[in-house]
């Protein structure tokens, strides 16, 4: 069991001195929102203090103070995580990067951008667009920080065509647990130069170091994009069409899955019924939204024609086109509002973001629905059909919290076992945090889990960086 020190008046004074005026907060001065992320069901933990940092040097100074005094440090961006990743389980200091929100420079010759970790994803997207460029990773939560995206290796909708966050990180500046500043990676497209600590850092959820600056790869922004909404009678028919689309060399940017329930919830919440619940007088069981991008309109038409043929063979109800600015905006607002729509109609919520081989999606979804029914829990789901990443939400409005947690645990235990059986992974893009640690351990097995722990101890021997997360058992015994 790790033991930590409280923040004494003397340490507080040092921390206060390490940053500018008005950026250090002690006890009740701390924003209560720092005690949770978007999944308060995993528990709220207030830190003793919080600091809004503005530079690498400040982070380094803070880490030196905390290392010397054994103060746990939990790094936080916009707090939009879903696994309790930025929650300070052991109290101590929350180090918030939201003020490090500057885009530092574009290198238009090499198509890279250098920026600070607190830049919001939507701001990077908009700014890159002004330069005629696109940052391909596209997680649904646009108000997340890019630093948070890197810490969780966020995926998102465009992963089908462009890959995930990891594929666009060229270099990072990282402050280590003892305050040393290191540069990982270089602005180059290839590297074969020893262990990739860069890639170890990506997705490490603030447990190995604090990211303070990033260099990311961009691509020229595609000039045209068009989406097709393909409704089916059943979930099975819908998912069966996915591999066919992938095999047809259409190179879609994304293939998003939505079932009837989530479409209904979303329409009720946003008042925007862009995704139809009935088509040609039949109920829609599930739909996929397929997006194509390119540099030539004619080419996109041809892809849509081919998609239409596949859809027909796959017994789709219709193929609908999202081509105008207005319909794109509506479709986008509805799709990105799915989670919010679920949250709005739900008092208690828990989630999983498993990833399974694409062909096994229907098996998994049918299983999870059965579990929901067995245990009296409403299931809502949507996800990235193109890569098998499913967002599944357990919801209830009438259960007591304890009872809800007990039932959801039964569902989760069984669902993760099923996921392992189907050769899936615990998390596609939301990460482990503390909520999913046990499932990670079961999923990867003891040998791999132990290797992870050993790596952690190399970077952070005193375990002051985001204790109790990913693979760190030092807080065992505390409620998780």
């Amino acid at each position: 069991m790790a033991s930590y020190n409280r923040i004494t008046a003397e340490v507080a004074a040092q921390l206060r001195a390490a940053v500018g005026e008005g950026r250090f907060f002690l006890n009740e001065e701390v924003d209560p929102n720092y005690s949770h992320d978007e999944m308060p069901i995993y528990g709220k933990y207030m830190p003793d203090a919080a600091v809004d940092v503005e530079s690498t040097e400040e982070v380094s100074a803070i880490m030196k103070i905390c290392a010397a005094n054994r103060i746990p440090v939990t790094c936080r961006g916009a707090g939009t995580g879903l696994v309790g990743g930025c929650v300070p389980l052991a109290g101590g200091l929350v180090l918030c990067t939201k003020r490090m929100n500057r885009i530092l420079e574009y290198d238009m010759d090499n198509l890279v951008v250098r920026l600070q970790p607190g830049v919001l994803l939507k701001d990077l997207a908009a700014d890159a667009q002004k330069h005629g460029l696109m940052y391909p990773p596209d997680p649904g939560e646009k108000t997340a920080t890019v630093g948070g995206n890197i810490s969780t290796n966020a995926g998102g909708m465009r992963a089908v065509k462009y890959g995930v966050t990891r594929d666009y990180v060229l270099a990072l500046t990282v402050v280590l647990a003892d305050g040393r500043i290191v540069e990982l990676g270089k602005s180059v497209c290839k590297t074969s130069s020893g262990y990739s600590l860069l890639h170890l850092m990506i997705g490490s959820e603030g447990t190995l170091g604090i990211i303070t600056e990033m260099t990311l790869k961009l691509i020229p922004s595609p000039q045209y994009d068009v989406s097709c909404l393909v409704p089916f009678r059943t979930v099975e028919a819908c998912i069966k069409a996915v591999p066919k689309i992938k095999l047809a060399k259409l190179d879609p940017q994304s293939i998003e899955f939505m079932d009837a329930d989530i479409v209904t919830s979303s329409a009720a919440f946003t008042g925007n019924p862009i995704f139809p619940e009935r088509v040609k007088n039949e109920d829609v069981g599930a739909s996929i939204l397929v997006t194509f991008t390119g540099y030539d309109e004619e080419e996109l038409d041809q892809k849509m024609i081919r998609l239409g043929e596949i859809a027909k063979e796959a017994d789709a109800l219709d193929v609908l086109v999202v081509s105008t600015a207005a319909t794109k905006k509506s479709a986008w607002a509805a799709r990105s509002g799915f989670l919010t729509a679920i949250e709005a109609e739900t008092k208690l919520i828990d989630e999983m973001d498993v990833v399974v081989p694409v062909d096994r999606i229907p098996v998994f979804l049918i299983y999870i629905r059965m579990l929901g029914e067995e245990n009296g829990i409403r299931i809502r789901n949507f996800g990235h059909a193109g890569d098998g990443n499913l967002h599944i939400y357990c919801c209830s409005n009438d259960l007591e919290e304890d009872d809800f947690k007990r039932r959801v645990k039964i569902i989760m235990d069984k669902a993760y076992t099923k996921c392992a059986e189907l050769e899936g992974q615990v998390s596609g893009e939301h990460s482990i945090g503390h909520a999913k640690m046990q499932y990670l351990r079961e999923s990867v097995g003891e040998d791999v889990f132990e290797l992870m722990r050993q790596i952690k101890s190399v970077f952070d021997p005193d375990c002051i960086l985001n204790p109790g997360k990913v693979c760190d058992l030092s807080l065992s015994g505390r409620p998780a």
Partner: protein
């Protein structure tokens, strides 16, 4: 079978239109265009009528040649044919003369039982076109329709949304309707219709091909109103900006000011 006319308009994205501070003119170059959103709600209402009772939908617009793209967008959603009124003499028209031009063109296309219009356009926003078209078509008029209950025997029964209630009305055909956007959310086009709309033929009518058009009634000469002057809104002097260094103290300062004023 009902013969239906839907009037649509292509507008500039007004968020991106700006005023040239030197010349005082509106700068529309390079500003993307879109179909007036409320017109799409009108089209949706027409398509629903067509699905329920059968019918033929003619789309009509007036504008420069590029307004064709708006007609194609509407064809994809459910129009059967499309007509563009285009020509320099039509330019600069207000609603008095635009409604005249549209009705003269529509007279060549047949007799319409139902005419649908958007409540207003985002750019001009006068909201006058529908009433003026209805008058010129010698049609009855149901503005702000939230639901069409029944069409039969040369009559239409529908609900109108008023400020403080809902009115059930019955009107004789021909009838012109404007619709509430929340009740007629526009559908997505299907792929075949979308692809077909790209190749569809658009009938273009000009000042030379519209029957019986009186030139003094179109464009600027036919307009009742003119815009002799535009200017940037005169803004009052900015208020007191509270800037103390942190959110906490800013809000604290504001609260004391509001307490002083008796507002809180």
């Amino acid at each position: 079978m009902l013969n239906i006319l839907v009037c649509v308009k292509q507008i500039p994205d007004i968020d991106l239109v700006r005023m040239d501070p030197e010349t005082g003119n509106l700068v529309r170059e390079g500003v993307p265009t879109l179909t007036n959103p409320l017109d799409l709600n009108a089209l949706e209402a027409a398509v629903r009528v067509k699905e329920r009772y059968g019918g033929h939908i003619t789309l009509i617009t007036m504008g420069p040649p590029m307004a064709e793209s708006t007609l194609r967008e509407c064809l994809a959603v459910g129009g059967d044919e499309a007509v563009l009124i285009s020509g320099r003499p039509f330019g600069g028209a207000d609603t008095l003369s635009t409604s005249y031009s549209i009705v003269k063109a529509a007279e060549m296309l047949g007799n319409f039982d139902l005419i649908f219009c958007g409540k207003e356009s985002m750019d001009g926003a006068t909201g006058q076109m529908a009433s003026q078209l209805a008058e010129r078509f010698n049609a009855s008029q149901i503005s702000c329709c939230s639901k069409i209950e029944e069409i039969s025997g040369g009559k239409i029964r529908a609900l109108r949304t008023l400020e403080k209630g809902t009115e059930l009305v019955e009107a004789d055909l021909p009838c012109l309707l404007t619709v509430e956007k929340d009740n007629f959310f526009g559908r997505l086009p299907n792929l075949e219709a979308y692809l077909a709309s790209k190749k569809a033929e658009i009938r273009v009518l000009t000042e030379n091909t519209i029957d019986g058009l009186e030139m003094e009634k179109i464009g600027v000469p036919g307009s009742g109103t003119i815009v002799p002057e535009i200017y940037a809104p005169k803004l009052p002097e900015p208020g007191q900006i509270i800037k103390t260094g942190s959110v906490k103290t800013d809000v604290g300062r504001l609260m004391s000011l509001l307490v002083e004023k008796g507002s809180v």
